[in-house]
Every structure is written in structure tokens, then in C-alpha cells.
Symmetry: C2
Subunit: 290 residues, 2 copies
């Protein structure tokens, strides 16, 4: 529905809410893909997954100011509305929800959602206020788009934990689906920020994926987390990347690795002037080798 | 419905949500009265108003730990489940939602809603964290009880502003109805905490209502806010009340009184060991006398 002539554009949160509720009243399952635009193949994979699982798909595009710290790249974050429409042209999207800042943060806005737990470490340490901004805008978007399911990319693994925790703690009635990271042929995770990379930095940026490969092999070989972390960091630094963190932690709590539980390798660093993150799930293993 | 044999008791948030949504799907308007129990005539007036305006009424009873500061009266706050059922016996309540603490704050809970603006002054200053706890639990309750309207008492005037701000900022789809304060014959505002008052303190507690009467007369006579505040404070102190605040402010922003806008007189103080609050709406007036 709507695919032939492109999605219906909606700016007003009340209007998209009414449209979604009307569809659900008709027994249609609605999927939601919240984005900040600058769409790439990773976003398209989320939309395709939503279209495969749902009757109607809503994509939102909103560059959320509250998840950027003052010195970060909010003003220069890529805004590509025409290319975004092109990227979605082949997708089965019914509604494109593109609110204005005032629709999301009305005059006098002063309410924030904040979190400890999964938001505390890693991105939470290196981007103070980031996850509060994420939790706040995602909650607001979920109120506007009361879908059955929302789709997020595993590339922002910690964000998926923050969103899951927020909806559980506040009881927001929506399901979360986490989809695999989509990568460039050389392994670099798709990111709207990759356009910032100068050619030499673009080549060096593969070091994140290489570090995750090192982690996967070391994990399979039974190495202890601390040793794997040192290997990852060493590789990243050898490629001239300023490492924010390179960690092996429990995949759910982001605390120390638990016996026989899935873990995750997390990396973040600056490649030239561009900050990139990536991660890789590590299957549960016996701890007897440690 | 359900009045003859009393309301249906529901503990599970998902169950009350399903019941409310099923009623609304049938075209029924649902009203919600969130309470901390220890029900008095003020609560009953909210329930009666909800019953007059709605097809079905949900009353929740949950003594919310996160809105009490550590040194406050959470543990001794009155819990009167049998009396609460008696108080509601004459009311048309369909569901009585009484979640356990774990239903509202699941294991690992770490998400809070916080606010500046209307939450900053007065109760926000004297009860740090109080309004964050209120906003958080009210949002959680609204997710569990997706009613058309929720009913709050004007006695907690600042709380009504905080709740309105929260639902506006997060886009929570519910209407807020604020109902007049119900008073004892001598003017004392109904409060679950009035049971704490020893007889002598109970008599002195009327000073709050008397101070509000002074404010109303002075306001009508055109006195400036500062002078009215001094009169209120003087009266409260003359009756041995330890004043937290006695203020004349804009009724919506709680900032300085605006010309030709409604104002509110706010008082709070400790009578013996019991902290009481009260307020009175003051109609918009011309500022030319000031």
C-alpha cells in the first residue's frame, strides 16, 4: 500500500498516531523504523525486515538534538531528504513521519528520561547525556507511533539495550526487534557518519572490524576478556585510531562476562576527526579455559 | 457495571491494560483515578467525577516509593486496604488496580523521568526527587491504564502541573481533569496525612486555610504579591507552623504573577511533625493597583 507513489508524508505526531491506530483497528500489524535520516543500506535492511513482518511500515526521520552533546556534530550531521526518499523508493513504506523539532519538543519542554544500568558505561561515559536524549526521543516517538514492533540495528548495541530497558521500565507497549549490522564489503559497519571520513581515514576505519575479528577468534580460542581487550586495543592503536574503549562484556548487562552467557565485543574510537563505533556478538562459551 | 459486587481487583499491569483497551474498543470512555490509597472524601470526589463523565472507572492504589525521599514517611504512610474498599463501595468503579512494587519497578529498574520547569520550585525544592518519582510512576501507570482521562485533585496543584507537562512533553495520549479540593468543615484540605495530626495540631492546621483566605481577600483588594506572602507567612507563624513556603505565583508557570493571568496562593509547612500543603486559585486581575 502506498509503495507505487511513495510513502505518505506526515509531520504531525497526532496525525501519524491516528493513522497507525486506524490500521491496527483494522487488524493490521504495524512496524516502525525510527531513524535520523541519512539513510543507508543498514536502514533499508530494517525497513525490509519490518515490511516482511508487518502489514504497514512507518519510517520516522528526525535528527534529535537532545542526543548530541554541545560539542558534537548535530549541526553538521548529514541531512539528505531527497536521497532518503530515493533510498525508500523500493521499500514498502506506508508512512514517512518527519516531525519538526517543535512537534517533538513543544514550547516549554522540560521533561527528560534518564537511566543508569545499561546506559552507564561506554557510550554513556564518552557521550554524557546521549542516552538520556535517546530514551527521551524514542519514548516520544513511540507515543506518536503506537506500532506493534520497532526495529533497531545491532550496530548501536548499547542503544538497543537502553531502549529495551526504557520500554520495560515504563511499560511502553511495543516490541523491539534488533537486526544484524549491515557492512561495507571490507567490513566497515554502515553508518551515516561514514561520509565524514577522508579517503585515508576510510581505509584505516576497517581496523574496527579487524579488531572485532581478532576478538571473535580469541574468544573462540578461550582467551580471557582482559587479554582480548588488549589485543583489540593494540590493533586499533597500531592503525592510528584513538580508542575510546575496546571491551568484552556480558551482552545484556554490559558488566563482566558471565559463565555460559553471550558476550559482546564493543569498540569505539576516533579515526581522524570522525568517531566510529562497532560491536560483535560472541556466543556463550564454557569458562573452564580461563 | 461491577458496582453491585464491588470492583474487579487487578494486580497485573498487562491485565488492566487489556481490560481498558477492550472497553475502549467497545466505544466505552474510560476514566482513571490514580491514588496511593488511604482514600478520603477528596479521592471519592475524583471517582464520582470520573464516573459522571466516563463509562468505566479504574482506580489504582499504589504507594509509590520513588516519590518519597529517604527521610520521609514512606514506611508509615497509611495503608488501609479494607477501608479503601469500603470507601469505594458506593462508587461506580469497574476495576481496582493494585500492582505490587515489582509490577511497577521490575528487577533491574533504572529509568527515571525528571523535569525542570514546573517541578523546580516549592515542593521540588523541599522534597528533592519527589516530582521525578511522581512523573515516573504516573507515566508507568498511564502505560498500564490507557484511559481517556485521568483525574487529579487541585490540592496538589503543582503536581497537576508536573503531570500535565510530562504528558505534553512525552506525548502521552490521555486527558487530565483537575477537580476541586475537598475540605473538612473547618477548611482543612482533605489529605491522607491528616491522620498523623495530634488533636492540638489538628486544630492549628486550619491556619493553612486561614492563610489562603487572607490571600484571597488581599488579592481582591489589589495588594502586591510580596505583601500578601508576608501576611500569609505571618499568620502561619503566629499559629506555630514552620513555614516551608507561602507564595503568590502565576497559576501555570509558578513564576512571578503575570498581569491579567490567574494566580495561585501556595502554602506548605510543618504542623508538629506533619508536613501539610494547600493552595487556592486566584482569578486574573488587573495589575493597575500595583
Amino acid at each position: 500500500m502506498g509503495a507505487a507513489c511513495g510513502p505518505e508524508m506526515i509531520v504531525d505526531p497526532d496525525a501519524v498516531r491516528a493513522a497507525v491506530l486506524a490500521a491496527r483497528d483494522q487488524g493490521r500489524r504495524v512496524g516502525f523504523v525510527p531513524t535520523m535520516g541519512a539513510l543507508h543500506a543498514g536502514h533499508v535492511s530494517l525497513v525490509d525486515r519490518a515490511a516482511a513482518e508487518c502489514d504497514d511500515v512507518v519510517v520516522s526521520i528526525f535528527v534529535n538534538p537532545t542526543q548530541f552533546a554541545p560539542q558534537e556534530d548535530f549541526t553538521r550531521y548529514p541531512r539528505t531528504p531527497d536521497a532518503d526518499r530515493t533510498a525508500l523508493a523500493g521499500c514498502r513504506v506506508r508512512w514517512l513521519f518527519a516531525p519538526r523539532a517543535d512537534d517533538i519538543y513543544p514550547p516549554g519542554w522540560c521533561t527528560r528520561i534518564s537511566m543508569d544500568g545499561p546506559a552507564s558505561r561506554f557510550e554513556g561515559e564518552h557521550r554524557p547525556g546521549h542516552f538520556s536524549g535517546v530514551a527521551t526521543v524514542v519514548c516520544r516517538l513511540f507515543m506518536a507511533v503506537p506500532a506493534d514492533r520497532a526495529y533497531f540495528g545491532a550496530k548501536d548495541w548499547q542503544q538497543t539495550l537502553v531502549v529495551r530497558r526504557m520500554i520495560r521500565d515504563l511499560g511502553v507497549p511495543i516490541g523491539i526487534v534488533v537486526c544484524p549490522t549491515v557492512r561495507e564489503p571490507d567490513g566497515l559497519a554502515m553508518s551515516s557518519r561514514n561520509v565524514y571520513l577522508a579517503p585515508a581515514d576510510r581505509r584505516r576505519a576497517t581496523a574496527l572490524w579487524e579488531a572485532l575479528g581478532i576478538a571473535a577468534r580469541s574468544w573462540d580460542a578461550g582467551h580471557v576478556p582482559g587479554a582480548i581487550e588488549r589485543s583489540m586495543r593494540g590493533h586499533l592503536e597500531s592503525r592510528g585510531i584513538a580508542v575510546d574503549y575496546a571491551a568484552i562484556v556480558d551482552a545484556e548487562s554490559l558488566g563482566p562476562v558471565e559463565p555460559a552467557a553471550p558476550a559482546v565485543a564493543l569498540v569505539a574510537g576516533r579515526v581522524g576527526g570522525t568517531r566510529l563505533i562497532d560491536n560483535l556478538q560472541l556466543p556463550a562459551r564454557s569458562m573452564r579455559n580461563e
